[in-house]
């Protein structure tokens, strides 16, 4: 792997979403970086790549995928990796990220971020897949903690212990989704603050801030609401422990006007400045 480290990047960004394309093409949007959903741009041509090329000329871009299926017991699909590598070569991103989850095995692809059992066998499989992906992409991978709605009877460790061992064995980095920690903690009965204390903070390169919805018996990771107070509080706790980090508001549905997201991003900036000052 030519680059086995990812330099820290400090800044505040937003996801590039279709309703905001024109703003990013024509305005001086006050963000330090932009995150794209990789699969939306793993296409042959047309408007998506046309927009992306122009955005990339103006901002650093982080590539964030949803289809890698890093936890598949039968490995990561070669055709997917080939197209992801081509996009990364074109974009020259800050980094390439995906989720600590699985979506497919053999021929069926659920296109959902399904939960992994936190077992030694799953850890071995994930780490083998990460090392392969990093070899193909020629860069370290960044993995995000997903929201989960259940736990497995065979679990042998906590999620944060799994993440810690995974980064130690593979040299990969973390994208910490603070909302997902809150959602999973509420659904699965762990303390989000204990989670934050347990993750290897020096491996975190990016933070997602998002909202969720209350389902009948579970919190649902809808990413379609403003960031709620409990998530801001978790952010304020973890931020002083991180090196320079790229923090962003992640909204995937019910997309509001860009100014609304920029206002939320200002809240993140303010909290980061406040807690950094206190820590100093």
């Amino acid at each position: 792997m030519p680059d086995d480290k990812i330099a820290p990047f400090h800044g505040f960004g937003l996801g590039l979403r279709i309703p905001h394309f024109q703003h990013f093409l024509t305005e001086d949007v006050p963000v330090d970086f932009v995150e794209i959903i990789s699969e939306n741009f793993m296409v042959a041509g047309g408007r998506p790549l046309h927009v992306l090329d122009q955005v990339r000329q103006r901002w650093p871009v982080a590539m964030h995928g949803v289809s890698m299926s890093i936890g598949s017991a039968d490995g990561v699909r070669a055709d997917y990796l080939k197209r992801l590598k081509a996009l990364a070569d074109r974009v020259q991103p800050l980094w390439v990220s995906d989720h600590l989850s699985w979506s497919r095995v053999e021929h069926v692809n659920s296109h959902d971020l399904l939960p992994l059992p936190f077992t030694d066998e799953a850890l071995d499989a994930v780490c083998a897949n990460i090392l392969h992906v990093q070899e193909v992409l020629e860069r370290p991978l960044v993995l995000e903690n997903p929201s989960t709605y259940l736990t497995f009877a065979d679990d042998q460790m906590t999620e944060w212990a799994f993440l810690t061992e995974m980064t130690r064995r593979t040299g990969c980095y973390l994208l910490l989704d603070v909302n997902n920690i809150y959602v999973s903690g509420t659904n699965n009965g762990f303390d989000p603050y204990e989670y934050l204390a347990g993750v290897p903070a020096d491996r975190v390169r990016q933070v997602h801030l998002a909202g969720h919805s209350q389902g009948r018996e579970r919190l649902i990771d809808t990413h379609d609401q403003p960031v709620p107070d409990p998530v801001w509080d978790l952010f304020s706790r973890i931020y002083p422990r991180l090196e320079s980090v790229a923090a962003m508001i992640e909204r995937d549905d019910n997309i509001p006007p860009l100014d609304d997201l920029l206002s939320e991003l200002d809240v993140a900036r303010r909290i980061a400045a406040d807690v950094t000052m206190v820590a100093a």
Binding site: A73, H107, N109, D112, Y149, L150, F152, A153, R216
Partner: protein, 248 residues
């Protein structure tokens, strides 16, 4: 349970097949399993709505959802990309609506336009280069997003009216079967309903025949005078529509 077995069982559960996944999760995980079960179908339905937006408008929510769930029950997603899940949905619609051919034709048009949207780039042929063309030998090369759909109804007029928010015409058969050509010019997908003779001309050109030979073949079908007039008209519209990538 091994990781591979667990993942097979989980997918079986999502696909409503017999599954041991309930015994692999902790006792209080029933509601969690329900979240994944619902999300699997909801995401596929949403994907089909996104890919088949005008079909959705034509059928309405209930009929579209029923068709989508019928398709999902018979077609497990396999591609690495969710965007490909719409492949074959028009065929499902054709089976579900055998007496209403406009429904499947609107579906096919939706899908062709979606494919053209992010299909391969190719700059259009510059008409200023026409003077350089050796018409006896040169063949026409179309842009790679060109697709051709057989139609029997006014599906194009219905599609356009829905897209524009205009009054939508009722479904009608065309006077005779025709074709719709779909392509992208620069960044914008387009479509046009064309007569059978133009379809013949496009297929002849796409087969690699020189334009001169193409004119000869048209003349065999419709006579020399009509063939010369038609070929000139088609060439002019192909150039204007950005349908031609190269002539050589």
């Amino acid at each position: 349970m091994s990781l591979l077995s667990l993942q097979r069982e989980f997918l079986d559960f999502l696909l409503d097949q017999p599954s041991d996944i309930p015994v692999a999760v902790n006792g209080d995980s029933g509601p969690g399993l329900a979240v994944y079960h619902n999300a699997f179908r909801a995401q596929l339905v949403a994907c089909l709505k996104d890919s088949y937006e005008r079909l959705w408008a034509w059928l309405g929510d209930d009929a579209f959802d029923a068709a989508a769930r019928h398709h999902i029950a018979r077609h497990a997603p396999e591609s690495w990309t969710l965007g490909e899940y719409g492949v074959g949905f028009a065929e499902t619609i054709e089976v579900l609506y055998p007496e209403d051919p406009e429904v499947a034709e609107i579906a096919a048009l939706d899908w062709a336009l979606r494919r053209a949207f992010d299909g391969p780039d190719a700059p259009s042929f510059d008409p200023q280069r026409l003077a350089e063309v050796d018409w006896d030998k040169a063949a026409i090369h179309f842009v790679p997003t060109l697709d051709l759909l057989p139609v029997t109804t006014n599906c194009g007029a219905i599609w356009s009216a829905i897209a524009a928010g205009d009054d939508v015409p009722s479904a009608q058969f065309l006077p005779e079967p025709a074709w719709v050509r779909v392509w992208r010019m620069e960044l914008q997908p387009h479509f046009a309903t064309i007569e059978g003779t133009e379809m013949d001309a496009i297929q002849l050109a796409a087969s690699g025949l020189s334009f001169a030979r193409l004119c000869d073949r048209l003349a065999e079908k419709i006579g020399v005078e009509a063939a010369v007039e038609a070929a000139g008209r088609y060439l002019a519209s192909w150039l204007q529509d950005g349908l031609i990538a190269d002539i050589q």
